[in-house]
Subunit: 302 residues, 2 copies
C-alpha cells in the first residue's frame, strides 16, 4: 500500500500549497481521494499515470476537495481514455460534472460512472476479492464522508523448500495450499499446511477522515487501522474556531487516533494562517506519539 | 493600459504552462479575461490584487478558459469581498457557478452579477465615460466571443505655463479647457484652446480573440487597434488540424492582424505538442512583422 500526498492544505490553492488530494495505490488499484483545484498538475508532477486511476473518492462538495475534478475528467477525455472511471461522492457531484461537460459540448470516450452517496451510516461501497472500501460518515458543514480502505486477508505464501520434500505435491495443488488446506499423501498421511506455507503479510488498512469536527463515532469504524489521515485545520489556539467551522484541532485528531488504537496518524488540511506546520505534530504528539504532518509530495509505504 | 499574461496554453494546465487567463488594467479598471484552472494561483504569483478585479470576461465554455472561475469566485468570498463582481460569458455560465455554490452551501457576501451573452453580432456590453467594451463574435466549436476594449478620447491636458499668462483664467475654468473650449476674456478676446492645452495621449485599444478559426469578419471590429491577441494553436504543419478543430495557425492570426492594420500582434493558446514556441513568431512574421509570442508572466504596457 502506497500513499502519495498531492495536496494537504485547506481553503484555497497557492503556489506552494495545494488543496486536498491523495493517491492511494492498494492491491494493484490506483485511487484518487479528493481532488482540489490543480490536482491534475500535481498528478503529472508526481509522475503518476493518469490512466491507472480507477476510481475517485470525493469526501464533500467544498471547493478545496473537488474543484479539480472537472478538469481531470476532461483531461482523461483528451487523453482518449477508454476504461471506466468511477466517481464516488455526495449527491450533486454528477449534476455538477455533467452540466459542465454538456455546456462544453464534450463527449468522453470512456464510461464515467457516478456512485452518489446519501447515507448517514457507514456503507460498504466497493468490494472485490482483495479489498473492501467503506464510507466513514463525518460531521462537517455539508454532507461529508471519509473513506476506509481495507485489504482482505492475503493468501498464505508457499514454503517451496518444504514442499519439495514431498514428491507427490504438484503445482496444481498450490492453490489449495495457499488457501490453508493440509495436503493428504496417497498413503493417507496428512501434512499440516503450516509446514508447507508461511503466514502472509498482514492486510493493511487506511482511513481518510476530512473534513470533520471531533467525532467519536469514527472510532469503531477505523479501529486498529494501520494509517489514519485525520484533518487538523487548527492548533489549540483556534479551538473555538474549529468548533464554529466544524473542523478539528491537532489534539482532537490525535485523540481519535489514540481511542481507535491506530498504528500511525497523518495530519493534514492545514489552515494557511499557520506558517510553522511542525507545531501540528508537536501538539498531537502530546496525545499520540506516532504522528506525522503531511507535506506535498510525501510518500508513505506500508 | 497594461496587459499581464497569466496563461497562454491550450487544453490542459501543466506545471510550467497554464491555460488562458489575462489581466487587463485599463483606465483604472482591472479586468480578468478568461480563467483556466489554476488562474487564482497565477493572480497571486503575479502580485495582482484579487479585490481590484472588477469584471471577468469568459470567451467560451471550454475548460481551458473557465475551469478556474468557480475557485476564484469562492476565494473572493473567503476574502470577504463586498464589492460587486460582474461575469460576462456565454449562456450557461451562471447555472454552472450557482449550482456549485448552492451544493457547497456557500453564501457570498458580494454581489455576483452575470451578463450572459447569446448574440451572434458584435455588442456593446460595457460603457462608462472612459471606456467601451464590445464583443467580437468568433467561430469555434462552441459559442464564443472575443472582447474589444477601447478607451474613449481622453481630455486635453492643460498647458499651465501658457494658462498662467492669462490672469483671468481660474481653476474653475480648467474643466472647459480640458473639454477643448476656447477661453473668452472679459474684453471679448478669444484665446484658442490649442494655445492653452496640449493634445492628450491617444486612446488605446486591445482586442482579445480566442478561440476561433480564421475569420475575416473580425477585421472591421478591431480595425487599427493597438494590440491584438489572436490564438494560434497550431503552426502550418497542422493546418488541417486547425481547420478540423476550429482553431487558427500563426499565419492565419498574422493575416488577420495585417488586414485589420493593427499595431502589434500577440500570439497565444499554443498546443502542448510544440516545444519551440518561437516558431510561432517566425511563421507569423512572414506575414506581419510586429508580432510577439506570449509567455507566462509577460507584461505589455501601451
Amino acid at each position: 500500500m502506497k500513499l502519495t500526498i498531492l495536496g494537504c492544505h485547506s481553503a484555497t490553492p497557492r503556489e506552494n500549497s495545494h488543496t486536498s488530494a491523495q493517491i492511494l495505490e492498494i492491491r494493484n488499484n490506483t485511487f484518487l481521494i479528493d481532488c482540489g483545484e490543480g490536482t491534475q498538475v500535481q498528478i503529472r508532477k508526481n509522475k503518476i499515470s493518469f490512466n491507472k486511476i480507477k476510481s475517485i473518492f470525493i469526501s464533500h462538495l467544498h471547493g478545496d476537495h473537488f474543484y479539480g475534478l472537472i478538469g481531470l475528467v476532461s483531461t482523461l477525455g483528451l487523453m482518449n481514455r477508454d476504461t471506466d472511471l468511477t466517481v464516488y461522492g455526495p449527491k450533486g457531484i454528477k449534476e455538477i460534472i455533467l452540466l459542465q461537460l454538456k455546456l462544453s459540448n464534450v463527449w468522453l470516450k470512456y464510461n464515467l460512472v457516478f456512485v452518489e452517496l446519501t447515507s448517514k451510516s457507514s456503507e460498504l461501497i466497493y468490494e472485490d476479492s482483495k479489498l473492501e472500501i467503506h464510507t466513514i460518515p463525518l460531521n462537517h458543514r455539508v454532507y461529508t464522508n471519509g473513506f476506509f480502505f481495507k485489504e482482505k486477508e492475503k493468501e498464505r505464501s508457499l514454503n517451496i523448500s518444504e514442499i519439495k520434500k514431498y514428491n507427490e505435491i504438484e503445482t496444481c495443488d498450490y492453490n489449495n495450499l495457499k488457501k490453508g488446506k493440509d495436503f493428504t499423501c496417497s498413503d493417507g498421511y496428512i501434512v499440516d499446511n503450516k509446514i508447507l506455507t508461511k503466514d502472509p503479510a498482514s492486510p493493511k488498512s487506511y482511513a481518510y477522515c476530512s473534513d470533520t469536527t471531533y467525532l467519536e463515532s469514527i472510532v469503531p469504524i477505523i479501529k486498529n487501522c494501520d494509517l489514519l489521515y485525520h484533518e487538523s485545520t487548527f492548533l489549540e489556539d483556534n479551538y473555538h474556531l474549529a468548533i464554529k467551522t466544524k473542523h478539528s484541532t491537532a489534539i482532537q485528531a490525535a485523540t481519535i487516533a489514540k481511542k481507535a488504537e491506530v498504528k500511525k496518524l497523518l495530519l493534514g488540511h492545514f489552515s494557511a494562517r499557520y506558517k510553522n506546520e511542525s507545531l501540528f505534530k508537536v501538539e498531537a504528539k502530546t496525545v499520540f506519539e506516532n504522528t506525522e504532518t503531511c507535506y506535498k509530495g510525501m510518500v508513505i509505504e506500508l
